[in-house]
Structures are given as structure tokens and as C-alpha cells.
Symmetry: C2
Subunit: 154 residues, 2 copies
DNA sequence: TTATAAAACTTTAAGCTTGAAATAATTGCA
DNA sequence: TGCAATTATTTCAAGCTTAAAGTTTTATAA
């Protein structure tokens, strides 16, 4: 997936774009993962879950997290398990629907996330430093709509 | 990593861009992974390795693959192991330097990859259909240089 | 009411991924 | 030469990831 196009033709430019996109996100992701590990002894998936919860103080269902983070249900189960065992989030059974549980950041989790997020934002600014603020806006706009063509077709 | 910015300020636009970038690549990657599995009973990592080897008929060292694909050495070992057991690649010990081995696609592997790559290119064209050829060129250009700021600094 | 289906979640097996430690071969240099 | 450092690769433990199967609870509807 990170290799170059194997042919020429109409789809070539989009294939090139996809390869660039993937290399860029893998490179940045690898750097962020390494720094999160070294500086805060945590992982990207844990950070992702905490970031989602930070935006929802009222809590999120497991299925909300799964949908929002674009990962499978079983995946979320494992990550939340570990966050619970670290005292950073809680899983509270609900009275209304006993199949579901509400996941929330603990006070400790909230503090920990806020501390990490501030540094994290600085890292992203650094790693994307080659892109001007203006370009960043344009790129963001282009990426916003790319899915419309195919998602939800089935 | 796929959640929104938690603050406002100078780095905000780049953080937004990073989140879009990541969501875009994760969405496309998930779709491609699913199709590769369903249509060809293979995986994205196997496809990546085969794509790299397809471009190098003379073969690649394990460390070449690792560097090129942006993944760890140990990772490549496992993927190549599986490809070898499926008869799609070979690992040949070298006379010159007996620490290394040259990895090559077998004839079967070459045929299999060519078949998959053609369909894959069509998928990417479809999934990125919302981006015009012109935009694709511009985006590719912007992504090409983003690393220059920080890589190789240590 | 009571089967049946649907929904929310967990478990499982297989594979991917990393960083660190272990192995083996080569290189450099005293 | 001989031995320390380097290089290429594999092994390992832990965690991430998915798809599929399983469990429990809720909703539907005959």
C-alpha cells in the first residue's frame, strides 16, 4: 500500500495521492506513537479513546466509541479494559438498558489527558510544520468531502 | 487520534488537518482491507510487501523492505514467512553476505500480484473519486514535502 | 404471552505491530 | 591475527486489530 503505481492510465494520479496520503499518515503516526510511549508511557489507541471521552463528559457507549473511532467493537473492549485497570476510565452499567454501559474518564483520566493533549497538539504542529496554515485549511477542506462518492452505498 | 482539537490557538488548523488526514486514510484503508480479504483472501500487509517486490524483480533484502514500507524488521519477518509458506515469495541466502537473504516474488506471486494490483487501482480510483485529477495532483504535491521540517533531525 | 429477532457487548482465533533482546555474520582496527 | 563493534535478521512479549461466534438483554409481533 505504500508502494508506487504499477501502471499508467486514468487512475494513476489518484493512486499516487493515496500512496502519499498513506505514507504521510504512517510517518506521523509512527512518530506520535513513539513520543507518546517515551514521554507519557501510553499508546495511540488509548489516547484516541481518551480524546473521544474528553469531548463527551456525559460519557459514551462502547458502540459510540467504536463508531466514532472507526474501529471494531471487540477492539474497543480491550482498550477500555486496559484503561479501566489503569484507573483512567470507568464503565458504569446503566439502569435503563442493561446491555449497555456508559464509559467515562475518571478525574485522574481527565487530568492525564489534558496534560498529554496539550503536548500532543504541539507535536502535530511541529510535524506538520511544512504545511502553512493556509494550505492546512485548503487540504482539510479537500479531505472533508472525499467520502461522499462511495460511503453508504450498500 | 481521530478526535477533534481540544483547544483553540495557533496549532489548531494543523491539528484539524491531521485528524482529517488520519480519518481519510483509516477509512480508505479499512475498505481496501475488507475488499482484499473478500475478493482475494489476502491482507493489506501482504499486498504491501508484494507491491514492493513487484517493483524490484532483482529482489530486496529484509531491511530494504522494512525501510521502504515504514515498518519494523520483526514485522517484515512474519509477513514474509507467511508469503513464503503460501508459495508467493522466496527467501534466498546470499553467498556474498550470509547474514542477509534476498526476497523475491515467485512466478505465481508475480501473477497473483498483477491480477490484484489491477483491481486495486480501480478501487482506489473509486474511493478517491470525490477528488478530481487536478486536485489529486495538488494534494500529492503538498504531501510530498511535509516531512522536510523534522525528519533526520536526530 | 411467548417465541423470535434484533441490539449491545464480549470472547476468540488469527494475524499485524512494535521495541527490545538474542543470534549470527561481517567489518574495522590495534 | 584476534577481538570489539557493527550490521542483518529473528525471536519474543505485549498490545492492537479484525471478523466471526457467543452471551445477555431488549424489542417485536403473532
Amino acid at each position: 500500500m505504500v508502494a508506487g503505481p504499477t501502471s499508467t492510465g486514468p487512475g494513476k494520479e489518484r493512486l499516487r495521492l493515496w500512496i502519499r496520503l498513506l505514507r504521510a499518515s504512517r510517518t506521523i503516526e509512527a512518530e506520535l506513537r513513539e513520543r507518546l510511549k517515551k514521554e507519557f508511557d501510553t499508546t495511540l489507541p488509548r489516547f484516541d479513546v481518551m480524546a473521544a471521552l474528553y469531548r463527551s463528559p456525559e460519557g459514551m457507549l462502547m458502540s459510540d466509541l467504536s463508531r466514532f473511532l472507526l474501529v471494531s467493537n471487540g477492539n474497543v473492549t480491550g482498550i477500555v479494559d486496559r484503561l479501566v485497570s489503569e484507573g483512567l476510565v470507568t464503565r458504569a452499567r446503566r439502569n435503563g438498558d442493561r446491555r449497555t454501559s456508559m464509559v467515562r474518564l475518571t478525574e485522574e483520566g481527565t487530568k492525564a489527558f489534558a496534560r498529554i493533549a496539550a503536548v500532543h497538539e504541539g507535536w502535530v504542529g511541529e510535524l506538520l510544520g511544512g504545511v502553512s496554515e493556509e494550505e492546512a485549511k485548503r487540504l482539510t477542506g479537500m479531505l472533508k468531502s472525499f467520502r461522499s462518492n462511495w460511503e453508504g452505498r450498500e
